[in-house]
């Protein structure tokens, strides 16, 4: 399965990067969601998924009785999923605000960090 997951991950990364390199914020969000999923699958593949038995310890035993799935990558992915979700939720709101403020979803039109003359350094601006 690792081979297939590796290929799938690579394809997802390619699609995600292509979307993020586009100039549309909405497609950028799609790219970010794809990247988040791709990385999770990558970690999963690195843990060698080779069994369908979950990492549980049966009652009356102190250790797993047979070979179980690798628990370490699962713990990592669980954290990654939640953090990825928090990041996505924040990015959605940020982009929404950016669109409401600037009236465009074209990233090339959002080049000014602040409204006004972008070539003026803060120190050169006239003091109030």
């Amino acid at each position: 399965m690792e081979t297939v997951l590796a290929l799938l991950t690579g394809t997802m990364v390619a699609g995600s990067v292509f979307l993020m390199l586009g100039k549309n914020l909405v497609r950028f969000i799609f790219g970010l969601m794809l990247a988040s999923n791709a990385v999770n699958l990558l970690i999963f593949a690195a843990g060698r998924p080779d069994t369908s038995r979950p990492p549980l310890i049966p009652q009356g035993s102190l250790q797993p009785v047979a070979a179980v799935a690798n628990s370490l990558p699962q713990a990592l992915i669980l954290t990654a999923i939640v953090i990825g979700f928090a990041l996505l939720a924040f990015i959605f709101i940020l982009f929404l605000r950016a669109y409401q403020q600037l009236g465009t979803v074209d990233t090339e039109a959002m080049t000014n960090s602040e409204s006004g003359n972008q070539d003026t350094a803060p120190s050169e601006r006239p003091r109030p």
Partner: protein, 748 residues
């Protein structure tokens, strides 16, 4: 503090240089015998950097000049700077500079010397720009800092190379390694590094332009730093390195050539000035040029001439600067044509000016006369270009005599003129310095043997051991140098008489010069600023597309490059595993959904396809023994879709620019495929290697025993790695708060 009290306190600080002066005087008898004392304190002994101190004839002479003028400069400043906003700061800088300068001439370790060298540069910067409300003072201070600071860094390169070759930073140990150093193939490079350091500090052509601009400093600072001490640091360095790097043709040719050109240029430019202070600045450049020229020689007369002139110049130049400071302070102007007849109102100042100027012009009985005689004797014995050296010395001295006349005769004799302030004698603290130093030029001139034996000869023998020292005498007899002296006086008198027409002609010429060091510096500064602005515009152009392209491109190329260079195995053919049909279908479905997301022109379609991919991942987790992951993934996928749906409703519908509609997108696709291939290849390489199950085994062994949990993944999250989970929660909370605040700002 009351004003008079602060003046008295400032005067008392002159005790510091006075104490050092007395201490150095006690070393004079030992130095005459050729003795040197060494101290050493460990600083960074591991790399040979220590606070090594050596006191020999050369350091004693420089130290006496520094502290001697220092005493009078402090006394002068106490009145001159009275009432200044930064009165205390001024004296703090002044004394710090004085101590740094003493450290420089006493240091016996290359690195220690460099540290003091740069300290003097920094303090010079602070003192030139002392009038910090003045834009031109600030820019001139910056210019001096950049020129001498850059020279200092070049010097450090030379020092480190020397240290690397002889395996010590002790300066006193370098002379015996001179043959080794001079045989090195990169001797010329080391020499160039050291000379550039000395030339920038001592304002040699083509780095001379910063010194006249440094006259933006308060006048006592110009007298102290920029004529008597700091600019002599380069001279000191050349004298110190004379036995180490000197004596070669490259050394002699460079020093005589550069020094001679600097001397002539400084003298000519000095005549073209009408501001007294700038005029003195150019004569300082001239004097520094002469010193460098004579340090280029290797005969005893030439080197004795250098050391004698060093003392002569320090005496008369600091006195004259202080006189100009008094004139400026008491009349309110420094313009030569607007001052006259000051002898009536300022007798003591006139005495200082007259004695100093007569020493400068080289009148008999003054130390300057003896300095000039020795100079000619030295020039005639130079090994390289004696004719050039003699001509440069005669011409410079003639111009110097003319300038001495301009400075000492014009302002003091003749009818009094209307000045911004009515002139009156300065307070004693101010005229004491020039009068004493000027008188010293006369006393030393009458008893030259005394100065020669106690100060000059020990200094020369410290860097040029000789059996036959040159005696300083009041009268050396009728010989070539005396003839040249008469010639100089005649030329000087002639130049003085035609000074006005020369000044006009020179000022006209100078305005038309196509290239000057100053202008080159300005162009360099402007070019640096332009390049920086252009680079910033190129790198930080605000285009998200370009940022991403750069990050991803660098990641792909660097990773692939390093991997290719270090690869131990060749990639083999892919062996696709035999999987159940259902799993193949699942993966195919996800790949197809991916294609849909990439080319979709409808938001709803893209979101549905993303849902397929997310759910597909959940199914993979479920099949391969990760039910917790599957559960979380499905939950998060659902929540994400809800949020996306809410947000998308407020964003405009997708434009119709999906896919490869332009050459730029083809390039993007190429980059995307490149990074995708790299990630796939890396994952394959990782999964093809051995798996380290140490941690997994630990968790499996200890979950039930140590943490009393049977779901190993959950135990890891809430027990073994609970701090990580806390961090994760903080991230979620922070993201929620940040998102909330963004939305809340909208409602207000």
């Amino acid at each position: 503090m009351q004003r008079t009290e602060s003046i008295i306190f400032a005067r008392l600080t002159a005790l510091l240089p006075l104490a050092i002066f007395a201490g150095l005087c006690s070393r004079v008898p030992a130095a005459v015998g050729g003795g040197a004392i060494f101290f050493s304190w460990d600083w960074i002994p591991g790399i040979g950097v220590n606070l090594d101190v050596a006191v020999d004839g050369l350091s004693v002479l420089f130290g006496l000049i520094i502290t001697g003028t220092g005493v009078f400069v402090v006394l002068f400043s106490a009145d001159y700077m009275a009432g200044h906003r930064y009165y205390v700061r001024f004296f703090a800088f002044l004394h710090l500079f004085l101590l740094s300068m003493i450290g420089l001439v006493l240091a016996d370790n290359l690195i220690t010397l460099f540290v003091f060298w740069e300290l003097t540069t920094v303090l010079s910067y602070l003192l030139i720009g002392f009038d910090n409300k003045n834009e031109s003072a600030r820019s001139h201070a910056r210019q001096a800092l950049l020129v001498t600071g850059a020279g200092g860094l070049v010097l450090l390169i030379g020092f480190l190379m020397i240290g690397g070759i002889v395996d010590t930073y002790r300066i006193s140990a370098l002379a015996e390694q001179a043959r080794l150093l001079q045989r090195q193939t990169n001797y010329l490079f080391i020499l160039a590094m050291v000379l550039i350091g000395a030339f920038t500090k001592s304002a040699q052509f083509p780095f001379h332009f910063w010194l006249p601009n440094a006259m933006a400093a308060p006048t006592p600072i110009s007298a102290f730093l920029h004529s008597a001490t700091m600019v002599k640091a380069g001279i000191y360095l050349l004298a110190r390195f004379h036995p180490v790097l000197g004596g070669t043709e490259a050394w002699m040719g460079t020093l005589v050539g550069v020094g001679g050109v600097t001397a002539l240029l400084g003298a000519i430019l000095a005549v073209g000035q009408s501001d007294l202070k700038r005029m003195l600045a150019y004569t300082t450049i001239m004097a520094l040029g002469i010193l460098v020229m004579f340090l280029g020689g290797k005969t005893t007369p030439a080197l004795t001439a250098a050391v004698t002139f060093l003392l002569v110049h320090s005496l008369y130049k600091s006195a004259l600067f202080l006189v100009v400071g008094i004139i400026d302070h008491e009349t309110g102007t420094r313009q030569i044509e607007s001052i006259g007849g000051l002898i009536r109102s300022m007798p003591m100042t006139t005495f200082g000016a007259a004695t100093a100027a007569m020493s400068m012009a080289g009148f008999p009985l003054f130390l300057g006369f003896i300095g000039k005689e020795i100079m000619y004797a030295g020039a005639l014995t130079e090994e390289m270009f004696p004719a050039f050296a003699t001509t440069a010395a005669v011409l410079s001295n003639a111009l110097m005599a003319a300038i001495a006349g301009i400075i000492a005769i014009r302002p003091f004799l003749g009818p009094p003129r209307q000045t911004p302030r009515a002139p009156h004698e300065a307070p004693i603290g101010m005229w004491l310095g020039p009068a004493t130093i000027g008188a010293l030029g006369l006393v030393f001139g009458i008893f030259p043997d005394w100065v020669g034996r106690w100060l000059i000869q020990p200094a020369v023998s410290a860097f040029h051991p000789t059996v036959e020292p040159v005696q300083l005498k009041l009268f050396h007899g009728f010989n070539e140098p005396l003839l040249l002296s008469f010639l100089t006086m005649g030329l000087g008198l002639g130049l003085y008489l035609v000074r006005r027409s020369i000044r006009g002609w020179l000022a006209d010429r100078m305005a038309r010069l196509p290239v000057t060091g100053d202008r080159l510096y300005e162009m360099g500064m402007a070019a640096t600023a332009r390049t920086a602005a252009g680079l910033t515009r190129f790198i930080q152009n605000g285009s998200l597309h370009r940022y991403l392209l750069t990050i991803i491109g660098v990641f792909t190329l660097a990773t692939a490059g390093i991997w290719a260079l270090n690869a131990t195995t060749r990639p083999g053919l892919l062996h696709l595993p035999s999987l159940p049909l259902a799993q193949w279908l699942l993966v195919t479905l996800m790949a197809a959904a991916l294609g849909v997301v990439v080319v979709a022109r409808s938001r709803v379609l893209a979101v549905c396809a993303l849902g397929v991919i997310g759910s597909g991942a959940a199914l993979i987790f479920l099949v391969y023994g990760a039910p917790d992951l599957a559960l979380t993934q499905l939950l998060v996928e659902t929540l994400t879709l809800i949020i996306v749906a809410i947000v998308l409703l407020r964003l405009p519908s997708l434009d119709k620019t999906a896919g490869l509609h332009s050459p730029g997108r083809w390039f993007d696709a190429l980059v995307a495929v490149g990074v995708g291939t790299l990630v796939a290849a890396l994952t394959l390489a990782v999964t093809g290697g051995p798996l380290d199950r140490q941690l997994t085994d630990f968790f499996e062994q200890n979950s039930a025993i140590a943490a009393h949990g049977r779901n190993i993944v959950n135990v890891i999250l809430v027990d073994f790695r609970s701090l990580d989970t806390l961090g994760e929660l903080v991230v979620v909370a922070t993201a929620g708060l940040a998102g909330f605040s963004l939305l809340a700002r909208r409602r207000r």
